[in-house]
C-alpha cells in the first residue's frame, strides 16, 4: 500500500454496469465486469500493473468483490477508498419500498440486524431525541462496519468519501455543520474523511469561507482535458486546484467517461498541481494492464 506516493485507484463504475458516456455502452459491454469474481480478477491485474488502491461505493456488489479479494489475499495490498452512501441504489430502493419512509425502515432494520449494539444504541438516541447528529453517526458507523467485515482485520480502510449527491446537496444548502460533523466522526474513527463532489471549485471556496481545513480531507472530483463535468468551468476548477494547500485531490472522470484516449487523459492530469491520485474504471484485463501501466509511466509514483 502507498503512504506518500501517487494513488492509482481502480474505480468501480464498470462493476456496477455504469458508463457515464451512455447507458447503451454499458448494455453493449455485457455483464462480465459486474461478476464479483471477474471484477476481483480485474483489480488483481490492475494491481500487478501499477494500481495500488480501489475506490468503491459501498454496496452488496462491491462488498462481494472485497470478500473475494480478501479470500484471495489481495485486499491487504490495496488502499481502500469507500464512498457512502451509494445514493443511486438508495434512490432506486426508495422507489421499491414506498419512498423515503420505507427506505428509512429498511435501513433501520438492517442496522438492527447488524448486531452492533453501540451503533444501535446511538441510533435509538437519535430517533427518540430527533438528534440528527446521532442518526448520521449511526449510519456512518454502520457503513464502516459493513466494509470492515468484508475486508477483515488485516486490511485498512484508508478513506471514506461522502457521495457526490450528498456532498453537493449539503454544499447547495450551506450545511457547513454537516461537513464538520462528518469530518469529526471519520477522524475519531481513524479514517481519513473525504468528499466526492461535482462542484469542486465551489467546495474549495466554501471550505475556505467556513474555515474547514482542506488539508484534513481528500477530495474526489472530475478533472479531464475537455472539461467534462468540471463545474462551473475547467478554468475555475484548475484555478481552485492550484490554490489548494497540498495535493489532496483524487481526479475522477479523467477519461471523460471513455470519450478521451488514456494517453491524452494522462498527459493532461500530469501537468496539474495538487493531484494526489486518480481513479479509473476498467472492464477488461487488457484495458486494466494498459491503463495502469500508462498512468504509472505518465504520472509516476511520487
Amino acid at each position: 500500500m502507498s503512504d506518500e506516493g501517487k494513488l492509482f485507484l481502480v474505480g468501480d463504475n464498470p462493476f456496477h454496469g455504469i458508463s457515464h458516456l451512455s447507458q447503451e455502452r454499458s448494455r453493449v459491454r455485457g455483464d462480465a465486469s459486474t461478476d464479483p469474481e471477474y471484477a476481483a480478477k480485474l483489480i488483481r491485474v490492475s494491481l500487478d500493473n501499477g494500481a495500488n488502491g480501489f475506490m468503491f461505493s459501498v454496496s452488496e456488489k462491491t462488498l462481494s468483490i472485497l470478500n473475494v479479494l480478501r479470500k484471495n489475499g489481495f485486499v491487504n495490498r490495496l488502499d481502500l477508498y469507500a464512498i457512502v452512501p451509494y445514493a443511486y441504489e438508495y434512490v432506486r430502493l426508495a422507489g421499491r419500498v414506498g419512498g423515503i419512509p420505507g427506505l428509512a425502515k429498511k435501513i433501520v432494520k438492517e442496522i438492527a440486524f447488524s448486531g452492533n449494539f453501540s451503533t444501535i444504541a446511538m441510533g435509538l438516541k437519535g430517533v427518540f431525541r430527533s438528534d440528527l447528529d446521532s442518526l448520521v453517526k449511526t449510519y456512518l458507523a454502520y457503513e464502516i462496519s459493513r466494509v470492515k467485515s468484508a475486508i477483515g482485520k488485516k486490511a485498512e480502510l484508508r478513506c471514506v468519501l461522502l457521495h457526490q449527491l450528498v456532498t453537493d446537496m449539503c454544499l447547495g444548502l450551506n450545511l457547513d455543520w454537516f461537513f464538520r460533523l462528518y469530518m469529526d466522526f471519520m477522524l475519531k474513527a481513524g479514517v481519513k474523511p473525504g468528499f466526492n463532489t461535482g462542484n469542486f471549485a465551489l467546495l474549495a471556496k466554501k471550505f475556505k469561507e467556513w474555515n474547514i481545513e482542506l488539508e484534513e480531507v481528500t477530495i474526489a472530483a472530475p478533472f479531464n482535458k475537455i472539461g467534462f463535468q468540471m463545474v462551473p468551468s475547467k478554468e475555475r476548477c484548475e484555478k481552485a486546484l492550484a490554490e489548494l494547500p497540498k495535493p489532496n485531490v483524487l481526479a475522477i472522470s479523467i477519461l471523460a467517461a471513455g470519450y478521451l484516449k488514456p494517453k491524452e487523459a494522462a498527459d493532461y492530469i500530469a501537468q496539474l498541481p495538487n493531484i494526489k491520485g486518480v481513479a479509473v474504471g476498467v472492464s477488461k484485463e487488457k484495458h486494466a494492464r494498459e491503463t495502469f501501466k500508462l498512468l504509472n509511466e505518465k504520472l509516476g509514483r511520487t
Partner: protein, 325 residues
Amino acid sequence: MNVGVIGLGKMGLLHASILNFLPEVKLAALCEKSGVIRRFLKKVFKDVKVVDDVKKLSGLGLDAVYVTTPIPSHYPVIKTVYSEGVASHVFVEKTLASKFSEAEEIRGLVQKYGGVNMVGYMRRFAVTFQKAKKLLDEWAIGELTGFKAYAYSSDFYGLEGNSKVHASNVGVVRDLGCHAVDLAFWFFGDINVTAAKLESKVNNGVEDSAYAEVLTSNGLRGEFSFSWCMNKYRVPEVGFMVEGSEGVIAVNDDKLELLLRDGRRYKWFRHDLHDEVAFWLGSPEYYREDEHFVKSIILKDVAEPSFKTSAEVDRVIDEIRAKAR
C-alpha cells in the same frame, strides 16, 4: 425572491439545494407533513420557517413555491396555494395532476390568479433533447414520417410477483412515460391516442409496462413504449427515433445521432453539447429548469412547460388508460 418548498422528499431537497444556490433566491419556508422530518428540518434550517400545512405558508411573503409532494396531492396543494394566496408563482414536479380533469381545473385557476407556472419536465433541459428539438425545427431530416419513443428503467426488473415490492401507485405511464409524452408534445405538437395496452407484472396491479399508438395533429404516427421492468436500465432513460424524408434522428438522455439518407452521419454526446451549469446536482437539467423558472418570474415571461402545456400530458395519459380498457 422568497421561495418555499412543499414536500421534502428527494425532489424537494434537490430543488431546495439548487434554489438556495441561485443568487436571486432566498429559501424562506418549508412545508412538510411528516412530524419526524419536520423536527429534523427545524434543526437543520435555522433561518427557514418550517410548517406542517400549506395554509400556514400564507402571509409569509413568498413569491414562489415548489410543489414536490407525491403526484396525487398536486391538485389539492396547488388549489390551496392559489386560494390562500400563498404565492403568485408555482412550480410543480411532474406530472401536473393525477388526472386530466384536475389538470383542467388547475388551468382554470391559472387564468383566474395569473403568475408564472411551470411543470418539472426536466428532460426539455437536457442538451441532447434540446439539440434534437433544434434539428427538428430546422427540418434537418425533412418532412417527418413517424416516431418511436421509449421510457425504460430497471426499477422493477426481475421482481415479478415479489410481495415485498411496492410499485408507485401512479403507474409507469404517469411516473416515467410522462417525460416521453411531454417531449413528443414539444417536438411534434398535439397528440391523440389511437390504441394502447397496459401490463402489470409486479404484484400490486398498477401498470408497470405500457404501449401506445398515437397520431399528431399534423398526421404523424408515433409509438410509445414504457416499462419499469427492462434489464440494464440502471437509471431511467428516455429516447426517440424520429424518421423523416431525408433521414433519421435517434436521441436519448446521453447522445444524439443524425443519419441522413445521403450517407452523412453525425453523433453528439453530452460532452459535445455544452452541458455546463453553474451548480451540478443530480443532473445539469435540474439546474437549468430551476434557473429558467426563476428567470421567467424576474422577466415576467412565460415558463415552459407551463401548466397550460403540461395539462395536455395528463390528457394523453388518461387517453392511454381509457384506450387500454
